[in-house]
Structure formats: C-alpha cells, structure tokens
Symmetry: C2
Subunit: 400 residues, 2 copies
C-alpha cells in the first residue's frame, strides 16, 4: 500500500507562530513518501469542501515567508465536527486516499483528531491522525506549555513594561484586560518584565480565583493610596463563585452595550470588545475619587504581533510540526507534547500522548503559581514562564 | 555672568522615544558649563514645587537604560500654566539662578516655553527657553514630523500586518481604533505594511474628513461583500461636520457607559476606553447580518511599546534633544524642528523656528496625503511616512 496523501489544517484562534508549525510539518513531510501533501483551507471547513492547497512544491523563500507570518496561513475555523461531518470526512479521505491527518490547534482540535481516528477505525479505514498543539492560552493538558504562548507572553510582558512606565509618567490607575477565558497564563505573564516590586502590574486577576468586585476595589485602592498609582492585569474570563463571567453579572448596569453579547458558539463574547475594561474603569472611577482611571484591552495583538516573537517559542512551534511527521512513521495517533528537561539550561523535548488525554479539557494554572494571599503570581510561575518568552530584560530607569 | 543652571522637563502624553531626547540633551549639556543640570519631576508641576533631580552625574549605563525606556523618565504632566504660575516660575528661576529652560512636549509645551520666555523678558530676567518636539500624534507645525511618531507608526503598521493575517484566518469585520484626536497621522500609518490591495486595512477613517455613519456602514459593507472580510482603521477623533466627536453624538444610544465621559481638561475622553470601537461594532453588527464583527482599541501600547522602536525615530529623538543645547549657545528661544532633505536617501536636518509658530495650533494631514474618493491614503503619504518607521517589510505569505 502506498503512503497515501497527507492533509493538514489549522483551527481555532491563530497565534504568532502557528505557521512555524505548518512549515516544520511541510519541511519534514516533503522528505517522506506521501503521494501528496495537502493543506486544507480553513481547517475542517476546507476538508469537508475539498478545498485543498498543494504544499509539496513550495520554494525555500515561500516557506521562509510563511514561517514569518502570524496567524493561520491556511486559514482557520471554529468548528466542532458533528457525527455526520466525521462520516463525510472519512468518505472524502477514502475517495482521495488521504491516509494521514494532522490538525494544528487547541483541545478542540485534539478532539477532532480523536473523532477522525475513531471514525476511520469504526469502518476499518486505515489512517493516522495527529494533533499538533498551539494556543496562546497555554491551557492544554499534558504538554509543559503550548507553542504560541511564549510569544504572546513576551508581547504582554513587553507591553506592560512600557505601559507601566507610561503610568509612572502620568500616574493614575490603569487596568489592562488580557485574553484567557478559563486560565490566567497570559495575564500572569504581565509580571515577567518587572524589575522591582514597585513596577506594575501590582495586581493580577486570573480565572483560577473567584473574582469579587468589592475586594477588587479595595485592593486597587490600597495600592493607589500607597504608590499614587496602580497598574492592574485582569483576565477576560474573571468570574464569580458560580462561574458566571463578571460581565454577565454586570450587563446593563454600568457596562457597555456589548456586555453579555454572545458569539456564534453561544459563548459570551469576551475578546474584540473593550466592555470589561470600560466597566471596571467606571466602577473604579465611582469608588476612588479624583483618580485618573484608564483601561486598555490588548485584544488580538496578543496573538498576532509579528515584530516581537519569542525565539524559543518559534523554534518549538516548528519542532512540534516536524515531529508530528516523524512520529507518524511508527505511531497511528496522538497529540504532540513538549516535555521540560530538568537541567541547568532550559530545554524541552518533544513526545507523544494519547489524543483523549488532551481533548476537551483545559489546564488551569496550578496552585503553586498563584500567591495565596494576594492577587499575584509566585516565583515558581516566574521560573516556569520566563524561558518560554526567550527572555525579558527588566527595564525601569526612571526618576519618578 | 555664569551660565547658570539649566532645567529640563517632559510634558504631555509620553512616547516610546521621549527619553532619547532627554538623554541627547543630558549628554550634550554635560559638555557645557552649566552650574547644574536639573531635571524637573512631572514637568511644570516639579518646577513649581522645586522637585528637581540632578542630571549631571549619571553613568553611561544609566543613560543607556534611560534612553531604552519608553515614557517620561522624569515623569510627565498635563498642565497649562496660568499667568500666576509663570510669575511664580520665573521667581523660582531667579532665586535658583536657572538661566536655561528646556521643555520636551507637544504644542502646549511650545506654548509654555513661549510664556516662560515672555515672562522672563517682561521683568528683565535674562534666560533662554527652548521647546523640544515630541508627540506620537505628529501634529506639530513647522517640523517635517515629530519624534515619537515614527515608532508609534511602526507599531501600528506591524500590529495591522498581524491583525490582518488574523482576520484572513477567520474572516469577518475588524475595526481598530487608533490614537489621534485632531489628525489622522497614526491611523494612516496602519497602511504601511500592506503588500497588496487585498491586505487590510481596507478603509481608513481620519479626523481630516467628516465622518458619516451611514457612509461608513455602506463602505464597510461593500468591502465585506467583495472580499468576505474587512479590516478598518478609525481615528479616535472622527467627528461630524460640526466637529462633534462621533461618541458625543451617539452617547447613550448604542455605546458604552463611557461614551461622553470627560477628562480633567473637559475634553471628551477618547483614549483608555474601548467605547468608540464597541459602539461601531454594535452599529455594524446591526446593519450587516451574520458578520463576525470585532473591535480593538490599540490604546497606550501605541506610545509605549518598547520592543519595536524605529531606529530612525530613536536617532532623531536623541538629535533634537542634543541640538537644543547646541543651539542655545547662540540663540535665546525657539522650537527645534526636523527639516527633510531632498536627496536619494532619507535624511532630516535639525533647525530652529520661533516658539510662537509651533505653539497652540496643530497640523492636520495635507490634502495630497488623503484619497479624494475613498477613505484611504495616497502614495504621497506612503513616501512621506515609510522612512520614519525605519522600514516595514511587507508580509502576506498566506493561502486564503
């Protein structure tokens, strides 16, 4: 039997280095004996519509260009396949003699790869199915961290360094809202460029802890009264004890017209809106007299800024893409993970785990990364996250 | 008579390279015979409170660190001096034997330097007063461009490159709101990283043109129907024919609770809020069925992001600071400007103009930089702005 064709797709929210994984995959795949190497436009949507790009004959300069470009070069999609989709997909794979399926994405993509593997098995069609991890949210199980996170964390750390200097210049209270619906990894990264305790962010609110608005006001007030200023990092996903997002519980009172708006999956829309930051700004303004209060929502820049990529992240992203091809020579299914090696110098090896271990669930920050007594991170988090950013130089040469 | 002391302050919204001007000043000033070189904390506020830092004895490594740090190392202030302030200031200068005043800032700072010069003259106190330009808004008269703009423009161009790739990945309509109350320079910079016509931003709305919401909806719809997606750049200061900001006219209808909120100068608060972007998102969502619509407000990152500085901007910022000292050997007052030399290779010389020419007014984009027929820039703008960014490499290696 020939090796058949290989197909690869990209899914979910893009990252700044997701195309490195694609290029790592292509470079390795072109050394193997696949009949064809197909890229599907917009992930599952392109596979179901047989909208393929031939990836076998790209020049070195094209590959270089793709690897340098953030976001999904093949286009992305947010789609959870139905039973019917999977059935249709397998029949397309059979007809096209596609024998290897690779899907770059988050836990939904691992789930999709799992469903493809199960679907093919159920009708006795021999094929391989692999998940290649990416997400700026860093919330996949099993892997030490997710490709895409290091660059996003680097952007956030650098953004806070500058924004903190800006806040020192003019004082006041600054609230920055970061991506992270279920986990605070990216919000926590806001601390990575701090040189001293007095540098911002001074307070870090993540979804791993219950968010209480009265405590929030009190904590902001305390820092503001002590330093004359306060820089705050808030995850978009902060929620109450019942798991309701803060914006849900405040919709229509002090927030923007967007509060409570739902996206096409029925999820509350948290990104692509300044509603949370503006609502918190209103509340703080009402509670702290005379303070200059501003909010920024870092938005899509966190996952797409191309001019400040982590070299470590970029290299690892390429490596997981490449390894998916290597490992598929001897294994049938699985999710690629990064395993941290405990030596003096930071290094992660690549490895494979079962798809079902990565599918569906998300990984929150562990307790030891979060301070028990205040809204802040621990040194353990610092040591975990810093190498992934490629290194952040502390900067605060300032007289105020 | 001895040279007396020199004092320098920073004022207004910081930039990523305003400290380069400070360092350029310090390096030159320490070679001269000033009795002392004082930095005032928070500009005028620090001068009036005699809150000074000695800038004479900083090490090379401190100067290097300061130059690398965005925002105002001495602290900034937003303060227009009253007659009484000026009187008090001159009496402090007299008592301290401060004979040279340097103020880094925008047109308000040029006005302050002018008032200081006039105030001193009126009582026969011999002193010098100079304005050193900075502003990301690029809206000062006389100078070819303002130090600070090139780095902000570079950040915006790079941010749009990534965000446009992100938009291609998932399609939909993306609205990005840029700083610029009176002039669209920064919003126009969003186009600088485009490789093809199909790259975003597709539409650019600046305060130089009247903003009409119905035309906006129509234009967004046209691009969306033609490309399946649309990336839009909007200046925070877009306004109607009566000069009313869009948010003012829409407050309370579809916008956020922050719409119409005023800052401490009685100006409508445009920055540090996602209100404009969210309001436009609501309106577009209501008018274009089924479209995925998102907004980001780039906020303070535009003026403070330290990891993607324009080298050209950094060098010029340092040079205007240095030149202020050089020129003050033979002149008494003035504002430093950059003058573009018309040769094959981009270069600006430094020069001096009267303070009154720079004070108070702002410079909008000239007609020849804006397309007459559509919300877009011209090639003339491109040629003007590109060198200031240090160069933006076009990037769109993408299959969708």
């Amino acid at each position: 039997m020939s090796a058949g064709k290989a197909v690869i797709g990209q899914s979910g929210g893009p990252t700044a280095v997701i195309n490195k994984s694609l290029v790592g995959f292509i470079k390795e795949a072109t050394t193997r004996d696949f009949d064809e190497i197909l890229g599907a436009r917009h992930g599952l949507a392109g596979m179901l519509g047989e909208d393929f790009v031939d990836l076998s004959n790209l020049s070195e300069s094209q590959l270089y260009g793709i690897a340098k470009t953030p976001a999904a070069a093949l286009g992305s999609v947010r789609k959870k396949p139905t039973d019917n989709d999977i059935e249709q997909l397998i029949s397309i794979f059979e007809r096209q003699n596609i024998r290897s399926f690779y899907y770059i994405g988050g836990n939904d993509s691992a789930e999709t790869a799992h469903l493809v593997a199960e679907g093919a098995k159920s009708i006795g069609y021999e094929m391989k199915a692999f998940h290649i991890p990416k997400t700026i949210d860093n919330d996949l199980l099993e892997t030490d961290h997710c490709p895409g996170y290091g660059s996003a964390a680097r952007f956030v750390a650098h953004a806070f360094q500058g924004d903190d200097a800006d806040n020192r210049s003019l004082n006041g209270i600054k609230i920055n809202v970061l991506m992270g619906r279920h986990a605070g990894w990216l919000t926590a990264a806001s601390t990575l460029g701090k040189a001293t305790e007095e540098d911002g962010p001074h307070l870090v609110y993540v979804p791993e802890k219950i968010f209480n608005i009265d405590t929030f006001i009190k904590e902001v007030k305390e820092v503001y009264e002590s330093l004359g200023r306060c820089v705050v990092a808030v995850s978009e996903g902060v929620h109450n004890k019942d798991g309701e997002y803060f914006l849900q519980t405040y919709a229509g009172e002090t927030g923007s017209g967007l509060a409570g708006k739902k996206d096409s999956h029925g999820n509350i829309q948290l990104s692509g809106s300044g509603a949370l930051g503006d609502t918190l700004t209103n509340i703080i303004s009402e509670n702290i007299d005379g303070a200059r209060v501003r909010a920024d929502t870092f938005g899509y820049l966190q996952r797409s800024f191309l001019a400040d990529i982590s070299e470590v992240d970029a290299e690892e992203a390429e490596r997981v893409g490449q390894y998916a091809v290597v490992v598929s020579e001897k294994e049938d299914t699985g999710s690629i993970i990064l395993k941290r090696q405990f030596s003096d110098k930071y290094h992660c090896d690549v490895d494979l785990v079962g798809l079902e271990k990565v599918a569906k669930n998300t990984k929150a920050m562990p307790k030891e990364f979060l301070d028990e007594n205040k809204p802040y991170v621990t040194n353990d988090f610092f040591e975990y996250a810093m190498p992934l950013t490629g290194g952040i130089e502390p900067k605060t040469q300032i007289f105020v």
